[in-house]
Subunit: 316 residues, 2 copies
């Protein structure tokens, strides 16, 4: 691990233009970068238009597993961002489905889901049969004779992701699959995110906390299909035909987004831009820089900026 | 750390009598040792009578935080075990209340609770004011304008323990307290248990998984007031006037019960007895012994037996 220099603060027209000229491909996190909860971050639409005008390519890579690519498209449209296609969006419900194929789980297999509809939709679209998930029988209070506590032996993998509708019934049924046959059923977790910025500035628990809960109670590891997984990045770069050295990851979270770009050697080792419009504040960055250990090097961004708003204003 | 010899299998009358003569004080875990779910493990009542007849002292130390000492007494009585007093029972809802006094949180303070009634009862009995907990307003689906998302600045500590009634509303409100004022409110977790044996042989998620969830999402450490905490053991030994070298911990879980006895140097370093009537099977013990690293030494019991049933049968 090499020691990185401190990140460049993108606060002048020159540095903003440098970024625009250096990279051909922009990978954007969504929550905290493109929008905050249900509001577009100001002028993000203009920034994307500017990228298009300069023949830049961009895609969206979100650790959120709750929304399918189709629902993402609808959200973008509602926020006034059009001209995006489904194959430019990589939420982790989709990467989980890709991982199942990579693990050679036969299409047509049943997959046990703890998570929201996004996972069910992407698995179905890929050709799998999700069970559990949003099944309303799991919304009940704890019942020790609940029919879904009996393992369906046809289930070939477990996918755990974000949901605000979790309860003990869902946790307990999922545990049965994770322990089944000496813990031999593959366990996919869609992300490792601890929390995210919610409405009115409050911080809310994120999907990685549910994944971590299941890993802890089952006492087993999981395959992370979200950022910062290098496998996930490799799939995306290949899929899009992006050159690694000409790509930049833009995100608001150091241990997922920035590490993703750094570990993946984007931009020849200068391929991560932290924006302070989401879950990370300047004091968090300063704290990391002041106390960094060797292990923290992969969390240090190449650049940081207030937001995409500030970036587009510098370029206007 | 010294390397322990392999545990002695208590399978003969001689070894059983050795145990009875060597120790004056017996510390029993409950779930998986005294009972399994709601059934007494056969002949446990006889074993306790035999201990009384030999002038042995015994107490119960449970990582369960859901039931207050009073409710434990009632459960013992229902299972036919009488002549136990409240001050011989140490569930972690009680140890959490003890910890609050040790942290010098003034009596009369509000304490935010994520957990069951047991915690509320013990905190109230100690003189604190529990809030959150079983408040039915928290049983609702996620509401981003929920009144309890606003932190009550009078709260002086957070206690998290077992509950089968958890949901996103409870998790999200608790997170607000854990993050409040730069994470300065003390965070007590009642145990680190991953899972426990439930009805019909199924394994269910335990309270430590909820504690771990909150620690992960808040990205902070907690004070563990359950086994294997040495502070907890010290309090119990002092409270009961038990001599360390004459005491034996009897439990079914190696990373909590056995480690508790071993780390606490009970029985002059020979003070832990694993019973296989609960969450740990012989294969689990064999796996530990085969692959043990130095770190695992504290998990290796001094003795193991099938159950208290087998022990009393050897002594009859």
């Amino acid at each position: 691990m090499t020691i990185k220099t401190n990140p460049v603060y993108v606060s002048t027209k020159d540095t903003a233009e440098h970024i625009l000229s250096k990279y051909d491909n922009f990978l954007f996190d969504c929550d905290g970068v493109i929008w905050l909860d249900n509001k577009l971050i100001p002028k993000v639409d203009k920034f994307l238009q500017l990228l298009r005008a300069h023949n830049k390519k961009f895609i969206f890579v979100s650790n959120n597993s709750s929304k399918s690519r189709q629902v993402y498209l609808e959200k973008f449209a509602e926020l006034g961002i059009h001209n995006i296609s489904k194959n430019e969006i990589y939420p982790t419900c989709y990467s989980a489905a890709l991982e199942l194929t990579k693990l050679q789980i036969p299409l047509g297999s049943k997959i046990w889901v703890l998570g929201d509809e996004g996972i069910e939709r992407e698995l179905t679209e890929m050709g799998y049969i999700p069970i559990g998930g949003t099944d309303s029988r799991l919304d009940s209070e704890w019942q020790e004779n609940h029919p879904l506590l009996t393992v369906d032996p046809e289930v070939k993998a477990v996918v755990v992701g974000s949901t605000k509708k979790f309860n003990y019934m869902k946790i307990a049924t999922t545990l049965q699959y994770l322990l089944y046959k000496n813990k031999s059923i593959p366990f996919i977790g869609t992300n490792i995110d601890r929390s995210y910025p919610g409405p009115e500035g409050i911080i809310l628990p994120a999907g990685g906390s549910v994944v971590n809960y299941m890993a802890y109670t089952a006492d087993r590891e999981f395959i992370n299909t979200g950022k910062p997984s290098s496998d996930f990045l490799d799939i995306i770069l290949q899929d899009q035909g992006f050159k690694r050295e000409k790509s930049l990851m833009v995100g608001d979270t150091m241990y997922t987004d920035i590490k993703f770009g750094n570990d993946g050697q984007l931009g020849d080792g200068q391929g991560s831009l932290l924006v302070l419009s989401g879950g990370t504040k300047f004091t968090d960055l300063a704290k990391l820089l002041d106390n960094r250990s060797l292990e923290d090097e992969s969390l240090v961004p190449s650049f940081y900026a207030e937001s995409l708003t500030s970036l587009v204003e510098l370029l206007e």
